[in-house]
Amino acid sequence: MNLPRALRVLRFPRLQLQRHALRTALALGGIAVAMLLWTIIRSAELGVALATERGASDTKLVVYRQNRYCPFASQLPQHYAESIERIPGVRSVSPVKIVVSNCRASLDVLTFRGVLPEWIDAELLPGVEMLQGSADEWRSRGDAALVGEELAARRRLRAGDTFRSAGVTVVVAGIFSSDDPQDRNSAFVHLPFLQEQAKRGGSGGIVTQFTVTVDDPSKLESVATAIDERFASDSHPTSTAPEKSFVANAAKDVVQLAGFASWVALAALAAVFALVANALALAMQARVRETAVLEVLGFTGSLVAWMTVAEGLALALVGGAIGAVAAWTGLWVLRPAFSAEGAVIEILPSASVLLAGLAASAVIGVAAALVPALRAARLGTAQALRAG
C-alpha cells in the first residue's frame, strides 16, 4: 500500500467520527465504561498479586491465634514471646498488636501496628525511606506513629498532624516510603501505647500476633510446628505459618474473588469488541452508497478496508484511553486499599495496567473492524450504486 496515500486518506475516517458526533460519543462512552471496569479489576488483581507474592519474607513466621481470622479476635499473651525465643532456630520475636479501623470489607482500612522500638530499628527502618519527620521523633513520643506513604496520601496526613481512627489518637512523627504494600498502608505505633488504647475492659499485655524470624529458611516449617506444639494445650493455642502463606491465606477469599473478577474483566473486553464491531457494522451498512462512490473515485478495496480498520482502531483506542485513564486517575486520587485479616491489599494505579489496557483496546479495535472492513472492501460497486 502507498504509505503517504494511506496516511492522507485517514482524514476521511476522522471526519466520519467527528461529524457523526452522537454515534461516536455513544460508542466511545460504552467502550470507556468497559475499559474503566477492566482497568479497575486488573489493578485490584495486581494489588492481590503484590500483597501475596512480594510483601513477605522467606525467613519469617507469623504466629496467630488458632481459628481466628480477624485481628480483633486474635488475642495472644505478650509473654508468649519469651517462650518462643527459647525454641531452637528462632533468631528474634516481635510482638505485634494490630488494630484495624474496619474488620469488614472496606476500601479505606486503617491498620495500626503496635511494635517495640527494637523492631522498628531492626525490621522497618532498613527497608524504608523517610519522606517526612524522623524515627527519633517517633521514639521520643509515646503516642507517635510512623505512617506509610499510601496511608498518609489516602488520609491527607503530614508529619506533625494528629489523627484518630478505631478509637486510637496518634501524632504523625514521620512518613516513609516502602516497597512492601503491608508497610506502606500501616501506621506503626508503640506497642504499650496501642495495648493501652485498645484495652477496652482489660486486655493489657495482649497482642494480635508475633512475627518470628528464623535463622535458616529451611527451618520455617519445623519451627512453626514447634511453636504450635508448645502452646497446643494452652488456653490460647496458636496457628503458625510462614509469612508468605499467612498473607496468601489471609487473602485467599480475595484471590478467589479476583479470579472471578478476571472473568468480569474478560467480559469487559468482549463488550469493547461488541461495541466497536456494532458501531462499524451499522456505519458501514449506512454507508454502502458512500463506499461505492469512493470506489468509483478510484479508492481500492484495500484502501477502503484500511480506512474502516482505522476507524475501529480510533474508536477503541480513544474510548479505551478515556476509560483506562479515568480509572487510573481515580485510583491515583482515591488510593483505595482493603484489608483481609489484617493483610492490606492495595488497588494500585499501575502504568503497566494502563499500557496493557491501551494495547488491548488497540488489538480489539482492529479485530472488531476486520469483518466490516472486508465486507466494505468486497462491495460490488455497480451493484451497490444500483441498490443504494
Binding site: N2, P4, R5, R8, V9, R11, F12, L15, Q16, R19, H20, R289, E290, V293, L294, E295, V296, L297, G298, F299, T300, G301, S302, T381, A382, L385
Partner: protein, 244 residues
C-alpha cells in the same frame, strides 16, 4: 485513434434462470473532445455502457479500449488506479459524501494523487470556481440545493483532469432552470476546455446540447444523430458501427 473504442461489447447477467443481455455486441468509437449523448428506452443498455466506460463493471465479451488502455485486461486494483486518473462520473443523485463539505468532497479524489498540499488546494479552488460553486465551499451537502449539489459533483469530477467525463442523467433530478444551468456548465466544459463528455439522458433537450446522440436499443446502437450546429443533424443507419 478514438478515445473510446468498443468492439463486440457484450454484458450479460443472470437473474434466476433468465439471462439478461443489456449490451449485445455493441461497436462504438468516440473521438477525444466530443460531447456525446446516449439515449434509449429503459433496459436498452445505456447505464450498463456507462458503467463499463467508467471501469466499475466488466464486459462479458468483446473489447473496450479507453485512452489506449484495454479495460478488460486490468486487475481490480489496476482498474481502480485507472479510474482515479482517467475517468470521472457525475450521477443523477449527485452522490456527494454527506459528512464532507463541498470543498472536502471535491478534494476527496485528489487524496489518491501524490500532490503537494498547496497544489491540491489550488486544484480544488479552481474546480469549484469552474463549477461556479466556490462561494459554497464550506457548506455541507444538506445545506445545498439540488443544482448546487450537482455543481459540486461536477467540480469533483473535473478536479482530477480526467480524459473522459461521464454523466448519468445529470439533470434527471433537477427543475428546468437548474437543469439548464447544469447543461450550460457541461457545454462550456466541452466547448472551452475540449473535454470529452458522454452523457446518458432521457431528455431530448439535454441531448441537443451534445454533438452527437447515440440511440441504443436492445444493447446496440440503433441510430446516431450527429449535429454540426443547433438542431442540425445527420442520421447514420442502425446496427452499424457508431462513430461519434
Amino acid at each position: 485513434m478514438p478515445l473510446v473504442e468498443a468492439r463486440g461489447l457484450t454484458r450479460t447477467y443472470r437473474k434466476g434462470e433468465q439471462e439478461i443481455r443489456p449490451l449485445d455486441g455493441l461497436d462504438l468509437d468516440i473521438d477525444a473532445g466530443r460531447f456525446v449523448a446516449l439515449m434509449g428506452p429503459s433496459g436498452s443498455g445505456k447505464s450498463t455502457l456507462l458503467n463499463l466506460l467508467a471501469g466499475i463493471d466488466r464486459p462479458t465479451a468483446g473489447s473496450l479500449v479507453v485512452d489506449g488502455v484495454d479495460l478488460a485486461a486490468l486487475s481490480r486494483r489496476e482498474l481502480a488506479e485507472w479510474r482515479s486518473r482517467k475517468v470521472s462520473i457525475v450521477f443523477q443523485l449527485y452522490n456527494l459524501v454527506p459528512v464532507l463539505t463541498a470543498y472536502e468532497n471535491v478534494e476527496l479524489p485528489l487524496l489518491l494523487h501524490d500532490l503537494p498540499r498547496r497544489e491540491r488546494h489550488a486544484r480544488v479552488v479552481r474546480a469549484l470556481e469552474r463549477a461556479h460553486i466556490a462561494h459554497r465551499h464550506d457548506h455541507m451537502p444538506r445545506q445545498l440545493s439540488g443544482g448546487e449539489e450537482q455543481r459540486v459533483a461536477i467540480a469533483r469530477a473535473i478536479v482530477t483532469e480526467p480524459a473522459l467525463l461521464l454523466a448519468d442523467e445529470p439533470t434527471g433530478d433537477l427543475d428546468r432552470s437548474s437543469a439548464e444551468s447544469i447543461l450550460d456548465l457541461l457545454s462550456s466544459l466541452h466547448r472551452d476546455e475540449g473535454r470529452t463528455i458522454v452523457m446518458v439522458t432521457h431528455d431530448p433537450r439535454a441531448a441537443e446540447r451534445a454533438q452527437a446522440t447515440l440511440h441504443l436499443e436492445k444493447g446496440r446502437v440503433a441510430e446516431t444523430i450527429a449535429r454540426t450546429g443547433a438542431k442540425e443533424s445527420s442520421r447514420a443507419p442502425a446496427n452499424t458501427e457508431a462513430h461519434a
